[in-house]
Subunit: 291 residues, 2 copies
Amino acid sequence: MKERAALIETALANTVVAHQGPAAPLYESMRYSLLSGGKRIRPILALASCEAVGGRTGEAVGLACAIEMIHTYSMIHDDLPCMDDDDLRRGRPTNHKVYGEAIATLAGDGLLTDAFKVLARCANGSPNARAETVLQTVAELSDSAGSAGMVEGQAIDLLGEGNPMDLARLEYLHSKKTGALFMISVRGGARMGGANDGQLEDLSAYARAFGLAFQVVDDLLDVESSPEQMGKRTQKDQARGKATYPALLGVERSHQLARELIERAQHALAGFGAAAEPLRHLAAYVVERKL
Amino acid sequence: MKERAALIETALANTVVAHQGPAAPLYESMRYSLLSGGKRIRPILALASCEAVGGRTGEAVGLACAIEMIHTYSMIHDDLPCMDDDDLRRGRPTNHKVYGEAIATLAGDGLLTDAFKVLARCANGSPNARAETVLQTVAELSDSAGSAGMVEGQAIDLLGEGNPMDLARLEYLHSKKTGALFMISVRGGARMGGANDGQLEDLSAYARAFGLAFQVVDDLLDVESSPEQMGKRTQKDQARGKATYPALLGVERSHQLARELIERAQHALAGFGAAAEPLRHLAAYVVERKL
């Protein structure tokens, strides 16, 4: 995982480069959040998924960067005062605290827009990077990140604050808010590696369980960790009356649910051989993570 | 122009549809701004440019909608309190005045993201809509709208407020802030209509002159019109110490520059026949427009 994360760091740093000139603070702001050392779970998932179907990791690097750019933009916009109003992210001041709200908004817009160029430029005529394949991935990335995916999830989360929510609604919310980007990471990575339809179906089942497990653990970390450990404000879900798994199920049942989901994710990989070891490792990591 | 605008209205209304369910206000907010009856100059340019190279207007409708979605998102985010802080747009309250800042931010994010799906889905295997062509247009749209284009222009505009600016800098600013979207409208429309390299070059010269003329006239309208005529706040450039063409050149010289630029745009179309009449008409419209 460390090796893959390092590969991603280098690729991201080369994708959004520093600029001189009158717009320099814009690029600085984009790089501040993009290169702030996140866990890089989504891009690593994309590489691992590409590998699982027999592709070379290099074939999914462009997609991996595009997804991390979109994930980063969503963090910048989520942290804005008009959204979650957070001051701390990954142990550092949030983007708008450093660059102001206007530049932070634009940095998010820039990262989101540029992501599609990064992906579109992956087409090179090789069998797994034909224009048709890349274009299908562009459409799926837009679908996962936009008003039918992540943006919808974020809207439901904001609009539903303080309203009663049951498990089914919570699962729907997370399938959009965080699940959709995990899904495109896995499916897109596999497609760039030359996946067939059967493999895409199995990997979709993996991604669905993985994404939900990730969210259950995230909710648990929010309850059980300190801001120092997490590098961001914790216990904020409860303060806002947001529905969470621990609130609906209790802490013990939530831990159990996370384990069950990860078993389901591992089960979806049963038809894959040794090439899927990185995906198996990532699933195990999700329930063990402390950050 | 009216006929084309009506075609675009219908296509846009069918592209972003109303939803039921917990995210309904998000879609309402997207539609509120997208379907608020703008002039639709960019999409009409895309259709006219497609036609100028012998394509059918239908071949550029997807691109035209994608560009108008991106233009609309940029208006929503520009109007936010942390950016230009405007209450009025096209004679109606701005998006965040109706839906709140959080949903307005997300509606912008959604329109921007969804635009790439709308464009990507144009590929249908016909000679002018091969995946290679559409993918190249995706890359160019991202480039025009992102941190190397519109977003950069917006950042320069914000960062430069109150600083002295000369004509060369002002032209650079506008080539990014508004020019880049005009450029992709014209070039993308032409590409979807099957343009060759020579045609793309001539049309790029047209788009460059057209975009700049549009901006000069926009600056003049800001000085010479009332808020009632424009449906938005006017004379705000001067209040903020923003450089404008009338401020740098005077009103008379600015009118003359706009006419010269439109002549240059018309000249770039010299090699095109009757099929370029709509583009010629649009260029003439830009200097005559009162809104």
